[in-house]
Amino acid sequence: MGTTALAHLSNTLYTFSIVCYALAMVSLGAEYAFGRRGRVADTAVAAPAKVLVGAGGPPVAADAATPPVTTDTAGPPVGPVGPSIGERFGRVGVALLILGVLVHAAAVAIRGAAVDRVPWGNMYEFTSVACLVAVLSFLAVLVRQPQLRHLGGFVLFPVLVLMFLGGTVLYAQAEQLVPALHSYWLAIHVSAISVGIGIFLVSSVATMLYLVRARWEARVAAGRGQGRVSGFGAMLPGADSLDRMAYRTAAFGFPLYTFGVICGAIWAEAAWGKYWSWDPKETWALIAWVIYAAYLHARATAGWKGTKAAYINLLGFAALIFNFFVINIVVSGLHSYAGLN
């Protein structure tokens, strides 16, 4: 197949994955809306079962590796009734999500084949990879905290917005890159950064939900009623759960992002003559790094835990987004590889 045909196929798959994600968002949104009674019953049954297994029975090796769908279907249907409507929507949603991820991964791989290099050389390709990582890391979160499944819609919403922007505004033809980018550091540096950003995206979504839920919990605890976002807050998982998800993802993304920045410095030393030249992109990468470092510290500091730390997390993601959109498109610098003219 020729380059053009491959690039075309990749675009088609990209569009198809957007459709899958959109349907998954609707489906998981429906699970969220129709309530989680079935889900709660399931986990309630599953939890003691796990302890029994751990206490003496055969090992639960498959536990961590199995995608949540199969865990669910394999789980004991002990409840008096079958899966509720919400539960069904949830399972369909995750199935669509996995289908979307597979198609999306294929789109990225074929784009790479079409251009005969790593498929993250311009903003469109970068967005695509970062979104793929975001969805993958949400799936990884589900393996550990399956009770968060119905939140998928909230993760998919920003992913869809970004992918739509990527496919329209940021879209760039499949092309070769300038000599400065002919380096294996492109594969290492950019992939580490995009993986980091994808994971931080999930973290920021969890943080936003945490803020809503924490506020709801505070209102309820103070006996002031449930407020305007009553239904919304009531259906979210506990604030602790969301906070932990936000922290774990950020703590996983941070070393990767740090690694990406360090690789960038090593590459800059070879390409530009200096490992750090205060290029606007580097500067904003540092700003985001400092903010996320502050988040990890704030979460361990009395008086900063909870909501304050959460806002710092959001600020960090805002810096990443600013670095990606504004610095790439508006400010000129050494990192001018956006592929937009």
């Binding site: 070769q176 400065a180 606007p280 502050a294 510290h297 500091t301």
Partner: protein
Amino acid sequence: MTAVDRDETVASKAVAPEPPAADTVDSLSTKPTLTAPPAGRRFAPLIRAWRWLTSMRTALVLLFLLALGVIPGSLLPQRPLNPQKVDTYLTQHPTLGPFLDRLSMFNVFGAPWFAAIYILLFVSLTGCLVPRIRLHARALRSKPPKAPKHFTRLPEATTYESDDSPTAVAAAAAATLRKSRWRIITRDEPAGVVTVSAEKGYLRETGNLLFHVALTVLLLAVASGRLWGYTGSILVQDGDGFCNTVQQYDSFNPGQLVKGSDIAPFCMSLKKFTATYDKDGTASDFRGNITYTEGLNGPEKHDVLQVNHPLRIEGLRLYLLGHGFSPMFTIRDPSGQVFKDVSAPFLPQDAAFSSQGAVKLPDAKPKQIALDGLFLPTAAETQQGVLTSIWPEATSPKVAIFVYEGNLGLDTGQPQSVYSLDRDQLSNGALKQVGRKNLAPNQTYTLKDGTTITFTGYKQWASLQVSRDPAQTYVLIAAGAILVGLVLSLRIRRRRLWVRVTPADADSGSQRTVVELGGLARTDAGVFTDEFGKIAARLRDPAAPRERED
């Protein structure tokens, strides 16, 4: 400071059961400087200031200030990076510009207030690290704490019975845990009760400290690299060369502490520069064939400079950063003097290398002569009749030149750009335009006064940069250590485990040995529940297949 620790604090919940047995490390590490000896009242404000400076809250505020402080550096033009842009900004913003300038907004990374932020952060970091390292060293030598009285108050607890004697059960438990690299100590309690205390995950704090120490080292290495390093840039045409002396550079930026002896003796010459392009006009490769000599009398060596592949020799690195064209002219002035194949570098203006520049002949007679205009490597005429370049390679080069005669103004003492003529000389009429012409190679333009200008061809030039940073290896090592420290401190969990074995006792009605098991993760409780279950299973039945715990 700065513990990426103490997140997920189950500790707060779990410290409750037995305060003395619970962690001394935690209570101290929350306020690491509180152990300072009592001092006279005179020093009280100083001590308070020191505590304030080394507190985590202050460190957080300083981190934010740092992030905030670099923002103008990324959005406003910066003098060290691009002085021309700063000047343009100043002329465009006559009121705001000077005000920002007074705040060092055009040299943020060299500004006093910026230095103040990072020096404070640096002091805060060090002031907090030292006591913490001491504490951790003590913790590493100390034994796991005594078992609390009631395990049921711990986040993880379970109990089972055994037929073995308490000592045997405790010894077996100790052996099993030791095999999984738990640090353990067995203690005897009254009435034949045996306890085993186990702790694991000391590497977390080790990693945390490594991260912060490495960060400090990194900052020091960056600073010393800036003080003892230098960069110089120079533009070299095919066939020309230069030696590593300050005078030869087009621009030279030394660190404050650079001495003459730091500038390694080195000479190079550019044999040939080649650029290759894909069918769609994107560059696919730039390479400069060079010869160079190292030291005072070194042998001549050969190398190919490429983007991403600098020449690295002892004491310096040589980079290929850009390239362009220098058109060549043979000019005969009215006095009959011939200037053969004079050339000057023209600066590329677009992706197809339409390049702009100037050629100056101060020795021409009777008047000085100058050309300025465009060099077009692959010339084409637009519909408006203007020449433009449509391809970055010189397949059909042309020049579009203006010819000037008069006084170039080179003797005024003011430095002039080599790429353009002095605007003042043009506007005050000292230098007058006397003709304009588009020329293909070997075409000649004859002016009214008899001056002839022949476009004889072109050379390519490469812009090179020489850099020296004696500390950059240390920066890299520190960065690697930062990463290792981060991964250790964020992935490893500190956890404690206690086993209490009570002998069979008719009084309590128990016929068998009772084994109680309690556990506490100081970080990330969720995962520990699984691990605790698995450990419990293994202690109960050592024959059970072993699980991976981490």
